[in-house]
Structure formats: structure tokens, C-alpha cells
């Protein structure tokens, strides 16, 4: 050890050569693994949004009366809104635990791009909390009497719209993480940014439902998603730096 001490002072590479080098890909995999293990350990909590979505969906036929045509007509929009609402509570706690237990401080000093870690967290969050909602969509569609031809479009729409919402939500969640109270605040901030997403998603679903072309709104969503994948993690990293200042 002593022989390497001198070169260590000058050069970081020398220091690394003696151990397991950290690289960006390895860091992302480590973060994904950690988040999956954590999600598995709290799998009970992961069922809550699912349960919420199923219960709310089941309430609609009771509240509106069992008119299959009425249900079929509103099914697409209702399911879209239910998914957005079911996503909200989990978004709020996206960075909260890491801020409270000091893990974010460790993120900040790690020799990895913070934006990349934020993007990885978004991916892990989407896979663990949102993907299950999309997987049960056929069941929810059946409850709402959703026309079978609309189901694939609804799922594709959600596959584009929900990552976009999680990316936006990550920025806002990071912003709100440093604040005193953030529950209703996140909803207030997410609403204006989610409106365009919901409009285009609803446009695609309505198009599919009435037998009209639905490619245009889906393409808009895809364009927004591409931009958000690059820009949102950068904004998220800036927000996390503000959150750690205290």
C-alpha cells in the first residue's frame, strides 16, 4: 500500500487501479438492482396503486349505472385518468426516502453523472410502479366494457404517456423533496405540465374509439417523450442539488 501512496496523491487513476473501478453503466445497474430489491421488499406497497385503480374502475359501473354503451364510450378517458391518479402518490415519494436517510448526499459525491442516476431512478420507478398498472389494463378494460379494438391503442398510449409523466414527475418530486409539505403541492405543479400529455393521450384514445386516425397524437407524445428523456434528467439533477442544500 505504501508504495502506491505517492502516486495516489497526484492521480485518481492510480487510486482506482487497485480496486474495482466504478463506471457509469455499472453504477446504473447497481442502482437498478438496489431499487428492484427495495421494491420487492416492499411489494405490499406496490399493490396499493393497482388496488386503487381496480377499485375506482369498479366504482364507475355502480355510479353511472350498468349501461354498457355509456361505459364503453367513456372507458378510454376514464382509464387514462385513473392511471394518472394512481401514479401520483408514488411520484411524491420518489426521492423523499433517499433525501431523508442521506443516500442523496452519497449520490451527489459519487463520480457519476447525477442526471444519469436520476434517469435510472425514473426507469426503475416506471418499471416497478407504473408497468403493473399497464399490465392489468385488459382487466380494467373489461370492467369498463372497453371496446376490444381500443385496448391496444390505449396500451400504446399509456406506454408513451406514462414514462413522460414519470419524467416530469421526477423533476417536480425532486423540487418538492426539499420543501416542508409536498403532497398537494406536487399535484398542483404536475397538473399544468400533465395537461398537454393528457390531451394528446385522450386524443389518441378518442380517435381509436371513433374509428379515426390516432397516429398523430401518438407521434406528438413520442416526440415529447424523446425530448423529456434528455432534458428531464438534467432538470431533475439540478433540482436534487437544491434539495440537498439545507
Amino acid at each position: 500500500m505504501d508504495s502506491t501512496a505517492q502516486s495516489m496523491t497526484g492521480d485518481r487513476i492510480a487510486c482506482r487501479a487497485t480496486g474495482v473501478r466504478a463506471n457509469a453503466a455499472g453504477a446504473c445497474i447497481a442502482l437498478l438492482r438496489r431499487d428492484f430489491v427495495l421494491a420487492w421488499r416492499r411489494r405490499g406497497e406496490l399493490f396499493l396503486p393497482l388496488l386503487y385503480a381496480v377499485i375506482v374502475t369498479a366504482l364507475f359501473p355502480f355510479a353511472l349505472g350498468p349501461d354498457p354503451e355509456l361505459l364503453a364510450r367513456i372507458a378510454g378517458g376514464v382509464l387514462l385518468v385513473i392511471v394518472v391518479l394512481a401514479m401520483l402518490p408514488a411520484l411524491e415519494s420518489m426521492f423523499r426516502a433517499d433525501l431523508d436517510d442521506g443516500t442523496l448526499e452519497q449520490w451527489l459525491l459519487a463520480p457519476q453523472p447525477l442526471a444519469l442516476l436520476a434517469l435510472t431512478r425514473v426507469i426503475a420507478h416506471w418499471l416497478t410502479t407504473v408497468l403493473p398498472l399497464i399490465i392489468v389494463m385488459p382487466l380494467l378494460g373489461a370492467l369498463m366494457n372497453l371496446p376490444v379494438k381500443v385496448l391496444p391503442v390505449l396500451i400504446v398510449t399509456l406506454l408513451l404517456a406514462t414514462p413522460l409523466l414519470v419524467l416530469l414527475g421526477a423533476v417536480l418530486s425532486a423540487l418538492a423533496a426539499g420543501a416542508r409539505r409536498s403532497g398537494i403541492l406536487l399535484a398542483l405543479m404536475l397538473l399544468p405540465l400533465a395537461v398537454p400529455v393528457v390531451i394528446f393521450a385522450a386524443g389518441a384514445i378518442a380517435g381509436a374509439q371513433s374509428g379515426m386516425p390516432y397516429i398523430a397524437p401518438l407521434t406528438w407524445l413520442a416526440a415529447a417523450l424523446v425530448m423529456a428523456i434528455v432534458l428531464a434528467p438534467l432538470a431533475c439533477a439540478a433540482a436534487l442539488r437544491i434539495a440537498v442544500e439545507s
Binding site: 407521434t219 406528438w220 415529447a224 424523446v226 425530448m227 434528455v230 432534458l231
Partner: protein, 155 residues
């Protein structure tokens, strides 16, 4: 290359790539029609949804307004100067509803007639005193230009 500049370069390239892809997708999307309303020509071409409510926009055709006596029902024809569609509506019409006015109605097609649930009048982006409007109309008449060609709104 030093790490700071390398990272900036990567971020810049990523942003440029994303902008390029997003622009491509937007151009593709713009070529597809996504509208607030459909024109009579589009309805005639079968582009409007069938059996579902949609918005029909156009100009109220000259001499087409017929009020059914004793009711609030009004029949009129919406045209975009190429195709026309008869519309029937029961209810109170907005102030601006008149011949030659841009109008947006929401409803469904029923046997070739558009049954409107709401009628909205769109006013155009032109503001001028009535005397000027009359003078323009007169000048247009002298030059045999249709009265609504000058200010048909931004449709």
C-alpha cells in the same frame, strides 16, 4: 479531451439528437390531421367520425337560416365554399350568429343532417368600424368578389 468538455459534448449531442428526432416526429405528426374541428369537405370525404360527436366548422350559407315557428329550432347550412352540410339546432344562438359568419357546431351526423348540440360563433381577427366594413363590401361588390372572401377567419 478533458472530462468536463467531454461530458458537455455528450450532453450537447444528446440534446441535438433528441431535438432532431422530436422534430422529425413533429413533422410527421403535422402531416396527419389533428384538429379541433372538421370542415364540410372533410366530412364529405368521410374523415369525420361516424356515429360519434365531433365539431363541424364553416360559414353559415347565405339565405339558409330557417327558424321553425313556435320553437327554438333553427335550420341552416354550413359551407366551406366547396361542400355544404345542413344543420339543425334547438336552443339560443349566440349574438354573432348570422349569414356569412364562421360557426363551430358540435353534434352528430344523422342521415346527412348534422344534429347540433351546441353552436358557437367564431369571430375573426379583424376589427374595423361599420362604415369601413360597408365601404369594403361595396368595393368588393363592384369588383365582383364574394362578400366573405376578405375576412373568413383563419380557417
Amino acid at each position: 479531451m478533458n472530462p468536463v468538455r467531454k461530458r458537455r459534448l455528450i450532453i450537447t449531442l444528446l440534446i441535438l439528437g433528441a431535438v432532431a428526432v422530436a422534430t422529425g416526429l413533429s413533422v410527421f405528426a403535422l402531416q396527419r390531421n389533428m384538429t379541433y374541428l372538421y370542415s364540410p369537405s372533410e366530412v364529405d370525404a368521410g374523415k369525420a367520425p361516424d356515429g360519434h360527436p365531433f365539431r363541424l366548422g364553416g360559414i353559415v350559407k347565405e339565405g339558409s337560416i330557417r327558424r321553425v315557428p313556435g320553437t327554438l329550432t333553427t335550420d341552416f347550412v354550413i359551407t366551406d365554399r366547396f361542400q355544404s352540410i345542413p344543420v339543425t339546432y334547438t336552443g339560443i344562438l349566440p349574438d354573432l350568429f348570422r349569414v356569412g359568419q364562421s360557426t363551430i357546431t358540435t353534434g352528430t351526423m344523422d342521415n346527412g343532417t348534422f344534429v347540433a348540440k351546441t353552436v358557437l360563433a367564431k369571430h375573426d381577427a379583424t376589427y374595423m368600424p361599420p362604415q369601413v366594413a360597408q365601404a369594403i363590401a361595396k368595393a368588393k361588390q363592384e369588383h365582383r368578389i364574394p362578400p366573405d372572401a376578405g375576412h373568413g377567419g383563419s380557417q
